[in-house]
Amino acid sequence: MNKDVKNAEENRTNKKEISRRSFLLGSTALAATAGVLAATAIPGVAKAAELGYKVNYEKGKPGQWSMLKPEADYGGINVNYVNNNKEWLGSTQIVGEISKFRQYDGGFNRALRNELGPKAKYGILRFDFRRYPLATGTATVQNNLVTLCEGKPAQDKLPIPDPEKMSMNIKDVAYFLNADEVGIGLTPEFAPWETMVTDKPGMIAGKPYEEVCKPNVVSAATHPYTICVSVDKHLETFLGSTGYDGIANSQSNRATMMLSGIVTSIAAYIRALGYEAVASHQGKEYVIIPPVAIASGLGEQPRVPQGVAHPRLGFRHMIACVSTNLPLAPDKPIEFGAKDFCRVCKKCAQTCPAQAISYDDDEIVHNGYKRWDFNLDACIHFRAENEEGVCCAQCMKVCPWNSKEDSWFHKAGIAIGSTGRTSSNLLVKIDDMFGYGTEVIPRFKWWLDWPELYKIKIPTNN
């Protein structure tokens, strides 16, 4: 190993410098200082002290994950805690300046502006409206919770526990609200959108950028912590699905229905404590989800760059988040061998109906960081224009990390697969031998089909 590579490796894993415990303590001190500064800067705090509010709580054990889940559940895999610094975000290498994105330039927004053709535009416009009735139903909650993402914090700040205990409390709240996983991270500077689309109908109607977008209210400076919450997209439904049939979009909408309720509630809870909090979910996202999820220790960036692979759930989950200035003790990003596994597996690339996923062994530099190449336009085209169903989740369905029920042999397989290239190769071969991922199991196909509705109707005056 040459010196540069060794230095980069040490910088990434930081093995010789900081343990998880000392990192937590350091973060706690930093967060406490930030909390004190924030508290003294906001009017009304003195009034809260005058009112004599007290908080009663029991401290957990040092390093405890939460009260409800004392240990983080990584599915039996040994996880390394790695860095969130200028050179590494978890196992993702940062090689230059990462410029912030405008939400306006996102794939679906470009499709809605007709830049990918009328079929893509009208395919997306009707995603949640009558192309599949259940998608309409499941999208209702997130669409109606959009107005509750932001809000003003209570004037009188309540006293709160130390940041480590407060983090445990936030995690317990998330589990109490039915989250499958939760993590807290430092908000990367490049994660919040630079500007947000605030007038979607206007954008679709062709109004210029300046009229339909506004600067983002969330930034790493104003909201230094991100609470990321994840909900499983339902294994049995994946097992019964082709991956891109009628239910595909409803799977995302179902997870977002739950997530939008969870993150909106957590944000409102934090505001009731007297701190700033903004909820982001599929209905209204203030931040780009993968970087904040990686920063929160929810996983690594897999071959499909929109996903975040969790050790236990793979990337078969949706993530939403809360950006806040509530003093918290952030978790560290994690590494468990997903990059090594994705390097050799390529099952998602082989089965992608749009052939949007790269077969390359090595990552490329994209906007200042390393990831596998990805043809976003091809992906959006297929998801928008698919007439065998609505949208697509084939990559999630076939991923060997994703397509399994909870059992001892899948845990053993993943533990073996996370240990290096040779074992990853072995795991992929065993996965293929047993037919996992690509099978469609009829008894789990519980949903109804209206194939005529999947056909995209383009208005004649378009």
Partner: protein, 104 residues
């Protein structure tokens, strides 16, 4: 069902141990005794790993996984079982009771 299978596995494991320790299954040769015990443990682990794998996969209707597991785990268990049976004197061994002529 799972609990019953665990109970059955335990009962059969004990039964196998008792059988191998019976005087009629003893060969008198140390190396053969060691092979018998090693084969028994490997056979037992292979067979019950297979049963567990098939049971759990059948629960989720993983048809290919079940059929491959039957072939791999049960196939190897049958081979190991036959070798063990031969070593324990079940198969192919000479009868210890000499024939008695009925005409005498």
């Amino acid at each position: 069902m799972g609990i019953f299978l665990v109970f059955l596995a335990g009962a059969l494991f004990v039964a196998g141990i008792i059988y191998i320790m019976l005087p009629k299954a003893k060969s008198g040769k140390k190396w053969l005794t060691v092979i018998n015990w090693v084969l028994y443990v490997v056979f037992f682990l292979d067979f019950w790993t297979g049963v567990s794998f098939i049971y759990l996969n059948a629960g989720y209707s993983h048809a290919k996984a079940v059929s491959v597991a039957i072939f791999v785990f049960m196939g190897s268990a049958v081979v190991l079982g036959l070798i063990l049976a031969r070593f324990l004197g079940f198969l192919g061994g000479k009868s210890k009771v000499k024939g008695v002529s009925l005409s005498e």
